[in-house]
């Protein structure tokens, strides 16, 4: 680099003396306001880090003098949202569920809220899509077959009191005898009943065994499952003639069901029975409205 100041020939602008393949770096001075803007941003940065959370410390960042936090902002947003919908929540708690569809705003609110309640509390067994798990006997809530009734009031009742749950005095209760384990029926008789159930549900069956099973069915099963096998939601007795099986309609599963019986349970979700972990009346109504519109509601 030469000691004397270089100048670009055409423009007379000084250069830094740096040159790469004939391209020279000019030395135009920065505008003064640009420098001041830079200082201003430095000052702004200092003030900002004092006012707002900024510097990482050992356990957490400095809080900032304004007390601002994004979490606080979210909490405020949630509180504002709750405030805004307080009226709808109260309305939903005392609403007549059968006429919910006459009030689209309330119904929409209930379904949206119920969707969230369902995902938080019900999806662990019934699945996030409410399709249930057949292998475990968690019912599919999307179809048109209901163990304990599928009107919106029925659903709300089931959610409130649960199934075979002693915490609630009003819980759904039914007890199918364990026909094999309790030696009410012999293995051969169970096979006959199973073939009869496959017959009335329109599946492949052995006609001879089934006709013998028909007699046993009328004796042992029809008091709950009805003479034609269509069941009774009041007793929680499933319809055996349709295409829907809680545990499965194949021979092995039916044999197991008749031999040992099944005792699916469901929590009683009302706050009354589940202190601190239950659902409020608003939430129960919401989730009932949600489940009712999943495609199977009666």
């Amino acid at each position: 680099m030469s000691a004397e100041e270089k100048k670009d020939e055409t423009t007379g602008v000084g250069t830094t003396g740096h040159e790469w393949d004939g391209i020279e770096e000019w030395n135009n001075p920065l505008p003064r306001w640009w420098v001041y803007t830079f200082y201003a941003t430095v000052i702004w940065g200092i003030i900002y880090t004092i006012l707002f959370p900024a510097w990482p410390m050992v356990t957490r960042a400095t809080a900032g003098m304004l007390g601002f936090s994004t979490r606080g902002q979210v909490m405020a947003d949630i509180a504002a949202f709750e405030d805004k919908h307080a009226g709808l929540r109260e309305e939903l708690a005392v609403a007549d569920l059968n006429t919910l569809n006459e009030n689209p705003d309330l119904q929409n609110f209930a379904v949206q809220m119920g969707s969230s309640v369902f995902r938080n509390n019900c999806s662990q067994c019934h699945g996030s899509g409410a399709a249930g798990v057949q292998a475990s006997g968690y019912p599919n809530l999307l179809d048109d077959d209901w163990l304990w009734g599928g009107t919106i009031d029925d659903i709300a009742y089931t959610v409130t009191n649960g199934v075979r749950n002693e915490q609630s005095p009003d819980t759904h209760w039914s007890e199918m005898p364990a026909f094999g384990a309790d030696e009410i029926l012999s293995g051969e008789e169970i096979a006959q009943v199973v073939q009869y159930v496959r017959q009335i549900s329109g599946q492949e069956h052995d006609a001879e065994l089934a006709s013998a099973g028909a007699v046993l069915f009328a004796d042992q099963c029809s008091s709950c499952h009805m003479e034609d096998g269509t069941g009774d939601p009041a007793l929680g007795a499933p319809d055996l003639t349709d295409a829907i099986w809680l545990y499965g309609g194949d021979v092995a599963t039916l044999t197991e069901t008749v031999t040992y019986a099944r005792f699916g349970v469901m929590p009683a979700w009302s706050e009354e029975f589940r202190k601190g972990a239950g659902l409020s009346q608003t939430e129960i109504n919401a989730v009932a409205a949600y489940v009712h519109q999943l495609g199977g509601g009666e």
Partner: protein, 512 residues
Amino acid sequence: MSSTDSSPLYAAREPIFPRRVNGSFRTFKWVIMAVTLGIYYLTPWIRWDRGPELPDQAVLVDLAGRRFFFFWIEIWPHEFYFVAGLLIMAGLGLFLFTSALGRVWCGYTCPQTVWTDLFILTERWIEGDRNARVRLWKQKWDARKWRLRISKWIVWLLIGLATGGAWVFYFTDAPTLAVDLVTLNAHPVAYTTMAILTFTTVLFGGFAREQVCIYMCPWPRIQAAMMDEDTITIAYREWRGEPRGKGKRRRELAEQAEAVSYAAGAKHGGTSPKVPMPGMPSGVGGPIPAKEGYGDCIDCNACVNVCPMGIDIRDGQQMACITCGLCIDACNDVMDKIGKPRGLIGYMALTDELREREGQEPKPVIKHILRPRTILYTTLWSLVGIGLVVALFMRSDIDVTVAPVRNPLYVTLSDGSIRNAYDVRLLNKHGEERPFRVSVTGDPAVRIQVEGTPYETVTVPADETRLQRVYVIAPPGSDPAQGGLTDIRFWVEDLINGDRAYKDSTFSGVGQ
């Protein structure tokens, strides 16, 4: 690095006091200013009847409702490709104009230029023309200076306020907002936006001016890359103007030069040493023809005094030149007065300056403009434009999207039927609610069921999307129920005018 020691690291802005000028380019710029500012300030007030359910503002960006209204066109968020297409057209248009005519955008229509022009105009009204402003700038802060400065700033603030105010009118119903703003009932966002835009307008138009173009704007750099030897831009006819000079000395030298030229002309054929053309690579410029004494430039500095960028066009092409044309007006005025032909400064291709030096005719303008590059830009620009127009006329006022519910894929009903669920979004772009009938084709076995109603018709509110759960049911034993995936097509029909739209989807059977 001793060379940097003597250079300052930063420098104060040199104030610029553009002198008033008259001429065809100045008139043209006044017209453009009136048109562009008129469009900007008046557009929000144009009304456009769209029916009772929709806003009647011709141009409205409805951020809350996520709609953009432009006269008869209504853009929904999913049609944002129109905006992308317009931006691509704007980019290609800028390329086209820059490669053909240099920085015309900067010189005539850029908001920074237009508003700066407006601010300089009001400055001149209040403080006087160039010389008065220079005097005022140099003098002490007495009562008169304070009075002029404060009245200027107040006018600037009002212009800034009108600018920021007009901006917010694009985002909500203008007459309502105007009343709300005055009665202090408007949303704080409106006031904040106005305050910010008022501040930036006054800062950029009143104080920063050419600094925005030189230091803040990326376009000068990009546009410089767009220009080539055929681009028509503003330049100084150096061969005609140089050597410049004025006054008594000009006359004396003219007499001397006559004698020198006589001798030189006899010996060398009348050429002077080779002088590079500023802005062109060295060695490109031809020799400036020797002439008797001085060139046509009388060094009156009129071109410098009117320049809003504070540059000297006679230095050649430079980044700070926004090609506003005011130096052309100023120089033509002077040329008229001294009885020389106009056009010492004018629009030309830089190669033409060289041709003229050699005594050749300049290339015709049409040959400069029509070249592969500009034709390519025009073609691309037109293709995008035609595509957008076609898309605009092809789109229907109703639409449907279908999302199959995959959790679970299907549900078995008690009679053994297989049911699939779909989230169907029905779009109604009309200004009134419409009954839409949903149907499905693809397999004769399947039937449709709309959640929550025994009918196949749903009412979609005006200018909204309705999310509707729809079931498709295949009877037991049918092909769709037993098979894997069956192609089906959802149809939606507007029962008022019979418009139809469809969306393809699939039906999941138990067989997959």
